[in-house]
Amino acid sequence: MELHELNIQETHGLLSSRKISSEELTRAYLERIQRLDPQVKSYVTVSGDVALEQAKKADERIKSGEGLTPLTGIPYSAKDSISTRGVNTTCSSRILENYKPFYDSTAIKKLNSASSVLLGKNNMDEFGMGSSTENSGFFTTRNPWNFDHVPGGSSGGSAAAVAAGLAPFTLGEDTGGSVRHPASFCGVTGLKTTYGRVSRYGLIPLVSSFDTIGPMARSAYDVALVLEAIAGHDPKDSTSRIEPVQSYSESLKKAESLRGLRIGIPKEYFVEGLDKDVDASVRAAIKQVESLGAEVMEVSLPHTQYAIPVYYLILFAEASSNLAKYDGVRFGMSERKTGDLMDVYLKTREAGFGAETKRRIMLGTFALSAGYYDAYYLKAQKVRALIRQDFQKAFETCDALITPVAPTTAFRIGEKISNPLDMYLSDVFVVAVNLAGIPAMSVPCGFSNGLPIGVQVMGPHLSEETLLRIGHLYQMQTDWHTKHPPL
């Protein structure tokens, strides 16, 4: 096996037994990125110097043998909306093209304290607005399984990097499926965490009330290792959860079966428009889970059909406000050569934002305007409460729900970009989770025409342990997650 095919646990074994140094490992990844990423295009920034410096520090720590964690010396990448001090953080937007944050986000800080090694920052749809990375202000990332197809989005660069062996794990960010959707398209394991489980401090917001940082890796077990490192209460994030973080990996080691677990299958997620192969693979995964001892039952989430409009309305509204700070005054792009203050605002935002971002800012500004607020934003919040209740009710009778992640496998580049509504609908199975703030995971469960299929496991708030257990035991029985694209 090659280095880039190893999972975190295996790599940690090589590092701690000093069969390989973090520096050697890091150089191997940097070399692979240099060789393959010009085709995959998963990285916006490769932070080679920072990586090598961090790797040397990790090696010293490994030598001293003190304070080692499973992530010490392990390279990783991060979605480009997660602030990294001194390393460009662009949100794949021209408006932040040369923006270097003065501070690290809390999640990055935690990985720094574990002596993990930052390889670089991954491409995304601009500010997270999209499901294909085609809305990146720079370039479109390709699906490592087939370069003619999208990697999904908005954390498409992150998913592609892990799938292509350009990072052993990555930090994605999920606002409305942005971790699960590309994880499914690229055949990696991705966890959307409970809202507030991982600090948002330093995460450049798209929708403050939906955004969650979540790990993507080659297995549920690896995801558990990363989650342990980055989760927890943060006094700098008033919306972060105070509950202590469980030892997920320990619990996975002990897990043997899913006996006693009740799994709900929401009928609203198996509807017309669902690709036949996707349907078959997801149903096969459900059978597999059943064979592990879980009890499977049909449930209903009756307000599912409203999830897309509600999600997008709230997104437009919050995003229009969150993106107001990009005004050319303090950081990022600033078109201030001529004209007055209004010209600076207009020219900077005209030149800096892409078409989809502008569309959403305008829709959000409209939805929040006097006279429309009640009809749009307020009504959306009311329906959001109903969707949340759907889940609460379902979780009274079952411990987790299983659904597809996306109606199809990865679509072709350019296929949906001219039709925003069609693009929005590819999020139909993922956005309700964000409206409810619950965790959900995408696990590889098959292929169709050489493109990966993902199955989604959802659970109540803070049920990450349950989701990881289901994913882990499933992966002990299957090998979909161990497949590598031919690069």
């Binding site: 944050p101 995460l203 917001p205 403050s208 008033s238 919306t239 509204a317 406000s321 305007s369």
Partner: protein, 482 residues
């Protein structure tokens, strides 16, 4: 013409809260005039991407204090909201404020008016963050974010005020309460309290609501009264010639005393308020609110009543003293050490002492004169050890250079003399030296008597007891008449 219209006035007061750190980050709150620009800033208060607000509990505590002092209902759940607009002093592109669920509502404040005490209803009290400060020079604009994120309290009245004087009385009373609660420094010249007035006028007796103008940048009591006065006159003039007042936002120019149009109704901001998703609802414990109520100090109204009953002061005198906590405290300390009637203490404090404060610009809190010494001096006047004019000299000496009254009186030889032979000598000399004034007096211009008293006082350096002087002067002048 003027009498047939009445003004309807509502006030919005923005007061900075005296917390050590800012509203949503750990940056220190500094004097925004003297501190070096942009030294007290961080990712949160400069709106760096990804930074998040964390609420300063102290700001909430101070806001609750004010709400309680204004007899508001304090809401155990309130919501922060984003007020969206673009301006370079607003780094996030929105201000975190409170909108439809503020911290406190439905309070009141009593003010003294010509026709007696009047209740002004308080609509709401809410928390928000201050903006940065802009300055302009050489075709450039500069932004200082030291002030960005400083906690502000917004206190909004119902439109209950009916004159510039009432508005000023309300502002002064509120200023006093903020000082009593120690939640605001009260330094108006540093902009820690700022006013906005909503003014409309209507025909007397009408209950119609006419278009109102919102006057911004009123930064002193004087500007407040002037701005309102100007707006009332302007609107009255428009109506009386059959015109229509436009609903608009106006600025106030301190040097011309006039308002000028800033934004019409068409350009009015739509702030697109919505609940701030980065902050959970502000939930307060009812017991905690009660524990804050228990710490409230004696407020101006209560102190006024006590000064009237304990010291026998008139309501007007008492209210003058209690309008400023430092002044009230100083008065009380002097009065407690003095054997003289409180009325004398009041007249010394309201008179000479305040004249010194106003002329020197020294703050009452910085006065070094011990209340004991001041009391002793007043007592020396009361028991006629020294005359009033001499006492003024001694007070001035003590305020400027310190010292004890008895010592200064002795050093300067200011002790009052009621020995008749000493005074008689001076009286004779004054009358001999001013024969023409004597003649005029004897011809019937008796008002000159006071002038002669003054001359004697001058020649004896104020030592002569004025009542004895007067007696001897009359006697000798009558003798000369014969």
């Amino acid at each position: 013409m003027q009498q047939t219209y009445e003004p309807i006035i509502g006030l919005e007061v923005h007061a900075e809260l005296l917390t050590r750190s800012k509203m949503f980050c750990g940056c220190e709150v500094v004097d925004s005039i003297t501190a070096k620009p942009n030294r007290f800033i961080c990712p949160v208060c400069t709106g760096q991407p990804g930074a998040l607000p964390v609420l300063n509990k102290k700001a909430v505590e101070l806001a609750v204090k004010v709400g309680l002092a204004l007899e508001c209902e304090i809401h155990t759940e309130s919501i922060f909201a984003r007020k969206n607009y673009f301006y370079p002093d607003l780094p996030k592109g929105y201000q975190i404020s409170q909108y439809d669920q503020p911290l406190a509502t439905d309070g009141k404040l009593l003010i003294e008016t010509e026709s007696g005490v009047k209740e002004i209803r308080i609509r709401r009290v809410h928390l928000e963050e201050d903006t940065g400060k802009l300055s302009h020079a050489d075709a450039h604009s500069f932004i200082d974010y030291n002030r960005s994120g400083v906690p502000l309290l917004e206190i909004v009245t119902e439109p209950d005020l009916r004159s510039p004087d009432e508005a000023k009385a309300y502002a002064t009373a509120l200023h006093a309460i903020l000082r009593y609660l120690d939640v605001n420094s009260g330094d108006m010249e540093k902009g820690v309290i700022r006013f906005e007035a909503n003014v409309s006028v209507r025909k007397m007796g009408s209950d119609q609501l006419n278009a109102r103008t919102e006057i911004k940048n009123l930064n002193s009591f004087r500007s407040l009264a002037q701005g309102i006065e100007y707006e009332i006159a302007r609107q009255t003039e428009i109506y009386s010639r059959g015109g229509v007042v436009e609903q608009e936002t106006v600025g106030f120019n301190e040097s011309t005393g006039k308002t000028y149009s800033q934004r019409g109704k068409e350009e009015a901001h739509d702030y697109r308020y919505f609940p701030e998703p980065d902050l959970p609802p502000l939930v307060l414990d009812a017991d905690w609110i009660e524990s804050i109520r228990a710490t409230l100090p004696e407020l101006p109204d209560a102190k006024t009543k006590r000064f009237i009953s304990d010291f026998g002061l008139t309501p007007l005198d008492a209210r003058f003293l209690t309008s400023d906590l430092s002044l009230a405290d100083y008065f009380e300390r002097v009065a407690s050490h003095s054997k003289s009637p409180a009325k004398s203490v009041h007249s010394w404090i309201a008179g000479e002492f305040m004249r010194y404060i106003n002329e020197s610009g020294i703050k009452i809190d910085d006065v070094t004169l011990l209340p004991e010494s001041f009391a002793k001096l007043i007592d020396m006047v009361t028991d006629k050890t020294i005359g009033g004019n001499s006492a003024k000299v001694v007070l001035s000496e003590m305020l400027q250079h310190g010292g004890y009254p008895a010592q200064i009186v002795q050093e300067k030889g200011l002790a009052q003399v009621s020995d008749e032979s000493f005074i008689q000598e001076a009286v004779t000399k004054v009358l001999n030296d001013n024969p023409s004034e004597v003649e005029k007096y004897l011809a019937g211009k008796e008002t000159l008597l006071q002038w002669f008293v003054g001359q004697v006082a001058r020649s004896t350096k104020g030592k002569a007891d004025p009542s004895v002087t007067r007696e001897l002067l009359v006697k000798e002048l009558e003798e000369r008449r014969r």
